[in-house]
Amino acid sequence: METIISIKPLLAVLVSLFVIPVLVSSSGKPNVRESWIFVAGAIKLVLVLSMLPVILGGKQIVLTLFEIAPGAAIAFRVDGLGMLFAIVAASLYIVTSIYSIGYMRGLNEHGQTRFVSFFALAISATIGAAFSANLLTLYLFYEILSLATYPLVTHHQDATSRISGRRYLTFILGTSIALVLPAMIYCYHVTGTLEFSTAGIFTGQLSKPAALVLLLMFVFGFAKAGIMPFHTWLPAAMVAPTPVSALLHAVAVVKVGVFSIVRVITGIFGVDLLADFNLGVVVMSIASVTILVSSCIALSQDELKRRLAYSTISQLSYIIFGVALLSPQGLTGGVIHIAMHAFGKITLFFCAGAIFVATGKKYISQMQGLGKKMPFTFAAFFVGALGVIGLPPTGGFYSKWNLILGTLEAQQTIFMLVLLVSSFLNAFYFLPIVFKAFFGKSEEEDNKTPVKIQEANLCLVIPLIITAIISVVLFFYPTMFVNLIKIGLSI
């Protein structure tokens, strides 16, 4: 494959890193600070997009920075998959920035400079992970992301966030050190390289049991993907301010986890090797359990953000499920779900945050009748929910369609049932919220003490409308993403 050496991926990573000192130095002037965030975000998006034509043209952009050991360098390589992820992350970052200004100022949170700085660091790490050329680099950015998000999750600095932060790190850092690190070094020890390649790096050095153990170490080790039983950090992390939950725990953090697993399956083991050993089924089974169990748990959650979190856990497993099908359709469906779910879920989180800022309500049972007062928010919520359930006219439909085709293609009919059942569960835990919001009676009406509730401020509403619209648009124009996936996985 033709490669181009360019510094652009590095710049795209570093741009939000460089802006951090500026942010810190302008901490007294919120307006200046926030305009810098936009500048950095815009530059980042432009840089990412400027690489898009090259990638769509079937080429790759590479850049090797530091050779640590032969075959293990800190290097970037932009391919289709990475590009897809980077576009999603970079574009949503800008939207979230708008949202977070509204949210943080709306609630008059403390430590806003710290917040935006670590936010920028986190997004840098996300882009870095997307563009990683090998497992070492991926691991590097994975760890940076874990640590950069810790102060975001524990932003409130109170007892609850302390406990949640502890759980967050225990699962994310613990698994990555205990499982991924040895597995990665073992791979290097066996093969002498960690470079991603579609054929896989193993050339017959691996027996089936060893492959199984390694695969499990990776799948569970990248705990950001929320595979059960390493999922509990995600609901715990919902103590964070909503912009963090929205971008990081619906897009960046969790998707980096999933993306890492996708990379390992497609780039380290190689689809063929796993198919030979028939290991896809193992991963699929694990993913199926997670999908079903977490969907059921989601049903029982009353706090909106926690329900969203459990929904996220199940949706992440869709992606892993799809990739583990090891068939072209399944791969496409799985990977494209990264994008589709991202737009859908971020809309939902935005809505949750907007409701909280406008009304102070966190629990679903309190939200009856709110739809009439916050029509835009709940409309967007509806669209987002459709996206996550996988119904037209949203992009979510496209990915779910592909997944189901994939199960048929791989002749795994039982697993198709899993998908269908879970879609029903999705519908059960989302649609009633919308229904009750629009048609239910609010508490205020009962009490006859009307409190004036209206839409949250514009900074909050505009982003969620934008993401909802994109969700719909993706239903009609998924082609670009599909092409990126085809190029990235050469299928």
């Binding site: 050779e67 600095q157 050190i177 205990a178 690190l181 040895p182 070094i185």
Partner: protein, 494 residues
């Protein structure tokens, strides 16, 4: 003739003497004298390293006598690297220490600097020398100075800790001396290279075996390998910060260097790994050292103590790597000498700043430190990440080589120990971070207007600048570890 190798060691000694004189006449001069002495030494060390990289090993004959009659400095890539580390850490610590010394030992600062310089002289000499007995003398200089320094710290417990340190230290040094005696008796020589040549014909000898065991035991006691570590935690945590900051990163690392030097240059890896076949036992010992150090660190309630036990744990890394019996493990051990020196230095710099401001560093004293000393804490956090082994800090990369070496040697228990100790270190440091970050708990949600703002009380600028430089060097050393391995360590090992 190039005199840089001698200058590295001599200038600190000269400076120590001048500072000793200045202590009685014009005390203000002793600090600049010390600074100049170490700067020259650092420059010479840098020159020597460059020279060694470009044109190979340097042999410098003291008094012009050819070895084995005279004492020779044999500076190859390994020495040169360690020399530069020692000289530069000593120099930068001196910059950071001015205020601490003023605070802790103001009435006899001149003598303090003299002892400090003698300590550095000892470390540099230990590193540079190619003579077994010269090594002993210089080890004694470092030990004697550290005994003194330890006693100068905590008024209540320092002298007692130091006295216990003396007993164990003397046993260690004497064992080494005995080992050298046994070697001398069998070979008749004291020059390392010469001894090695003669030894190659004596592999089966029981005397040589005993000599080897004695040397190793002596060095292990000096480097505080578990279970011979009992002196270290007290000694390090009771010494004055200016000294703790240099002894913690350097002393054990230089002893690890000595061990590697003895293994490679004097006894030869063939002898150790093929004739004696001791690798497995020592790697197990190192594994226990790692786990034990980490677990004991968990039990501590004082930051200095905790770090001291982490050093015990890190020693296990290096010993295990060196005894792995393969090139990767040795590479990891040597790389970790550099990296661990840097990270420990960074940690102790931060702790030094905290002690300067807070006087005590029990965990309960650290509340709200992120607000109070944000820059110090930034350095501390980065160093902690390096200890945990988070890329791209340098700690990750030496761990990488060590684990690779363990896989290659089939020592999976050692790899597991490394991983477990990383996890424990993560717990340790996040325990500290939590205290610094969450306590005192703000009431309800801290809001911008509420009084959650703590006045910033940072350490003096000199400490912060050094801390910043070292923190950056952690990342730089990490990213360039490939270069370091390729230009220094691999050529040395081949």
């Amino acid at each position: 003739m190039d005199n840089y190798p001698a200058l590295i060691v001599i200038t600190p000694l000269l400076a120590a003497l001048l500072a000793g004189i200045a202590a009685w006449t014009e005390e203000r001069l002793s600090y600049p004298i010390a600074l100049i002495g170490l700067a020259v030494s650092m420059f010479a060390a840098f020159k020597v390293l460059m020279q060694v990289i470009t044109s190979g090993t340097i042999n410098y004959r003291m008094a012009g006598w050819a070895p084995p009659m005279g004492i020779e400095y044999t500076i190859d890539l390994l020495n040169a690297m360690v020399l530069l580390i020692v000289a530069s850490i000593a120099f930068f610590n001196l910059i950071a220490s001015y205020k601490s010394v003023e605070q802790e030992t103001s009435d006899r600062a001149g003598s303090f600097y003299a002892i400090y310089l003698l300590f550095v002289t000892g470390l540099l000499g230990v590193t540079a020398t190619g003579d077994l007995f010269n090594l002993y003398v210089l080890i004694e200089i470092t030990s004697l100075t550290s005994y003194t320094m330890v006693a100068l710290g905590d008024r209540d417990r320092g002298p007692l800790a130091s006295l216990n340190y003396i007993f164990i230290g003397v046993i260690g040094a004497s064992f080494y001396l005995l080992g050298v005696g046994y070697l001398y008796l069998k070979t008749g020589s004291l020059n390392m290279v010469d001894v090695a040549n003669i030894l190659s014909g004596l592999h089966g000898s029981s005397t040589i075996l005993v000599a080897f065991i004695l040397c190793m035991l002596g060095i292990w006691i000096k480097m505080a390998l578990f279970p011979m570590h009992v002196w270290l935690p007290n000694a390090y945590s009771y010494s004055p910060v200016a000294f703790a900051r240099i002894v913690a990163p350097l002393m054990t690392k230089v002893m690890v260097y000595v061990m590697i030097r003895l293994m490679i240059t004097v006894f030869g890896l063939d002898y150790i790994f093929e004739t004696l076949n001791l690798s497995e036992a020592v790697v197990w010992l190192a594994t226990f050292a790692i786990i034990a150090g980490a677990v004991m660190a968990l039990a501590q309630k004082n930051l200095k103590k905790m770090l001291a036990y982490i050093i015990v744990c890190e020693i296990g890394y290096m010993v295990g790597g060196a005894w792995m019996g393969n090139q990767l493990g040795m590479t990891g051990a040597i790389l970790h000498i550099l990296n661990d020196a840097l990270m420990t230095f960074a940690l102790f710099l931060a702790v030094g700043s905290m002690v300067y401001k807070l006087k005590r560093v029990d965990f309960i004293d650290l509340k709200g430190l992120f607000g109070k000393m944000p820059w110090t804490m930034a350095g501390f956090v980065l160093a902690a990440f390096s200890i945990i082994g988070v890329p791209p800090t340098c700690g990750f990369f030496s761990k990488w080589y060590l684990i690779l070496g363990a896989f290659e040697a089939g020592a999976y228990h050692f790899a597991a120990a490394l991983v477990i100790s990383s996890l424990i270190c993560a717990v340790l440091f996040f325990k500290v971070f939590e205290i610094c970050f969450f306590e005192p708990m703000p009431e309800g949600h801290g809001h911008e207007d509420s009084s959650s703002h703590v006045a910033i009380e940072e350490a003096p600028l000199s400490m912060l600048i050094v801390s910043g430089l070292v923190s950056i060097s952690l990342v730089v050393a990490g990213l360039y570890s490939g270069t370091i391995v390729n230009t220094i360590i691999l050529p040395f090992l081949q």
